[in-house]
């Protein structure tokens, strides 16, 4: 690992839950208004990541009063208070930009029920990774 990567690694946030495109998340971000600081949340579907070490960003989309709203957040920004995963989406692509063109029934995303994270660690919705009580059953692995 070279010095540049080391420098970047020191800045990465490890306290955020794992999530990916298709998931419904609530992003809590700190906002400064004059002197005061408050926390605002934005809830929507993650429609894609732009992965590049510390510059990684992700896009969250929601429909607000019939108008599509998208926000791009830097994943490792210190302004992100926390991220809560509301739903795991069952999607087959990394970028869900097609959601911009569809609405109503077409804009639904199937929910992934028993989602198994990396190394067989079950990641419950709204929480941090937790080791399964019993060894992760093979059958729980969703077959695609």
């Amino acid at each position: 690992m070279n010095l540049l990567q080391e420098l970047e690694k020191a800045q990465l946030r490890t306290d955020l839950p794992p999530f990916k495109a298709g998931d419904t998340v609530r992003v809590y971000s700190r906002i400064k208004e004059g002197e005061k600081e408050r926390v605002q949340y934005f809830e929507g579907i993650v429609i894609g990541f732009h992965r590049n070490a510390v510059s990684t960003t992700f896009k969250v989309r929601k429909e607000s009063y019939g108008v599509g709203v998208e926000k791009t957040y830097p994943l490792h920004s210190p302004l992100l208070e926390k991220i809560v995963v509301k739903k795991r989406g069952d999607v087959r692509r990394a970028k869900l930009f097609f959601l911009r063109e569809v609405s109503g029934k077409k804009a639904r995303i199937r929910e992934k029920k028993d989602w198994i994270g990396k190394k067989g660690i079950a990641v419950p919705v709204e929480g941090t990774p937790e080791l399964p009580a019993s060894p992760a059953p093979e059958t729980a692995e969703p077959k695609e």
């Binding site: 010095l3 540049l4 420098l7 400064k32 070490a53 510390v54 510059s55 490792h76 920004s77 302004l79």
Partner: protein, 211 residues
């Protein structure tokens, strides 16, 4: 005290400031440099130090250079640069210069050799507009007229034409130092600096601003 240091450009990344804003930075591995020669008013007519950076095998250096390096007694170096200093500067031959000559918030100038682009047309080299691509246009990326005919019957000097572009000495002025990490010899400056990754750059306190 105004001074400078030689380093290696490692590449660009971003850091977050105290307000949470992402700042684009160039990471430079700066120093440590060795003072190879101290120039003085009495000897040389001006005060300066010659800095060496990047160890070099002694048998790769020519004999005259070996003699020159021996005066400092700290080995041979691949890159040498000169920095002007004050008459009362404590730096003498053999002294080390570290990145801690800079601190956060300083304004610096960074000099390097820009990326070589080879033989380049006028659009890339001089930002000419070029012509239309379609609709029967027969004028695409050519330079167009380069002058009149019978008079002056020559092309005037410094006409902007195609040719070699890049790989020349470029100085970027007034870059802000975002962070200094003396333990790793790292210097983070805001924005881009000339040159490719792993190329040598020279960093000095800004000559036109601050400090």
């Amino acid at each position: 005290m105004k001074s400078g240091i030689i380093g290696k450009k490692l590449g660009m990344t971003q850091v977050f400031d105290t307000d949470g804003k992402a700042i684009p930075v160039t990471v430079i591995e700066a120093g440590p440099c060795i003072v190879v020669q101290r120039k003085t008013v009495q000897n040389d007519g001006y005060d300066a130090v010659q800095l060496g950076y990047g160890p070099k095998k002694a048998h790769r250096a020519g004999k005259p250079m070996i003699g020159h390096f021996r005066k400092a007694g700290k080995g041979a170096f691949g890159v040498l640069r000169e920095v002007k200093v004050n008459t009362d500067s404590p730096l003498d031959a053999g002294a080390e210069v570290h990145v801690d000559i800079f601190k956060e918030g300083d304004v610096v100038d960074v000099t390097g050799d820009s990326k070589g682009r080879g033989f380049t047309g006028v659009i890339k080299r001089w930002n000419f507009k070029g012509g239309r691509a379609t609709h029967g246009s027969m004028f695409h990326r050519a330079p167009g007229s380069i002058g009149a005919s019978a008079w002056p019957s020559r092309v005037i000097k410094n006409m902007k034409m195609a040719g070699h572009y890049g790989d020349e000495r470029v100085t970027t002025l007034n870059l802000k130092v975002v962070k200094v990490q003396p333990e790793k010899n790292l210097l983070l400056v805001r924005g881009a600096v000339p040159g490719a990754r792993n190329s040598f750059v020279f960093v000095r306190h800004a000559v036109k601003k601050g400090n």
